[in-house]
């Protein structure tokens, strides 16, 4: 194997190692973020359910029942 080839091989090794490291780091950070997000959602849900709605009759949102020009993008 020529010295140049050996140098290229070292680059290849570095590239593959970097790829694995980046993948692992990415997955680890994604895991941390999603855990944080889960906690936040849980917290907010509890807070929301804790306070009862003040005006019970009108809580249902008004939903248009006729499908027309404006609804196609919904």
């Amino acid at each position: 194997m020529s010295p140049l080839q050996h140098e290229y091989l070292v680059y290849l090794f570095a590239a593959y190692t970097a790829l694995f490291v980046i993948m692992f780091g990415f997955m680890y950070r994604m895991l941390q973020k999603s855990r944080k997000l889960d906690q936040d959602v849980q917290l907010l849900k509890e807070e929301l359910l804790g306070q009862p709605p003040q005006n019970a009759e009108v809580t249902s949102p008004v939903v248009p029942t006729v499908r027309g020009q404006g609804m196609q993008d919904a």
Partner: protein, 230 residues
Amino acid sequence: MKRLLARDWWIWAVLPVMVVALYFDFVGSPNDVTLGASARILYFHIGSATVAGVAFTITAIASIGYLIQRTLTWDIWAAASAEIGLVFTTMLLVSGTIWGRIAWGAWWTWDPRLTATLILWVIFAAYLLLREWSDNRARRATVSAVIALIAYIDVPIDYMTIRWWRSIHPVIFTNQGINMPISMQIPMFISMGAMTLVFIVWMAVRMRLMRAELGVGDLKNAIRARIEGQ
């Protein structure tokens, strides 16, 4: 240790497998007789190809599942798998062009195999782009499922290109067995295993994030309904 366990310890299981794969790719295997050291590119190349194929197959199966059962879990499976499959297809194309430069003397040729893989990449990139442009969850899931099934047609075609047509791409897995010496099969299968493990862990993490996103969406709707109600 307990702290480590609580922090989703299973993700650490990937690291030793990665190290073993790297060891066998670069130290524990001989140089190829004709290709020399450049054959070492192929271990990752084949691993990425396997994972990409598996990932898109999971997307297609999950899309069928969604169309039958209409539960968003199937949609999450399809989307996460397509995303990761696209990343591995990118790795496949990049490692393939580097190897092609050494073995064939050109970065890219319009060979059937290469063309089919590039089409696959473009179609699934379009699929993922389209997912971002729709806001209604159920409609997005249905359209995406149909599009994924249309896009999946290219996967078997891509797999068979080098067997049907005269292609310059080498064929490793044939009807007569594996076209490779044992000493090179070991690193190949270890790389394949490592890549598959990365895929599984990535899927788990990505799907968890997608579920969290769904939770945020639900919360947003609940808050909006409450504000509009008051």
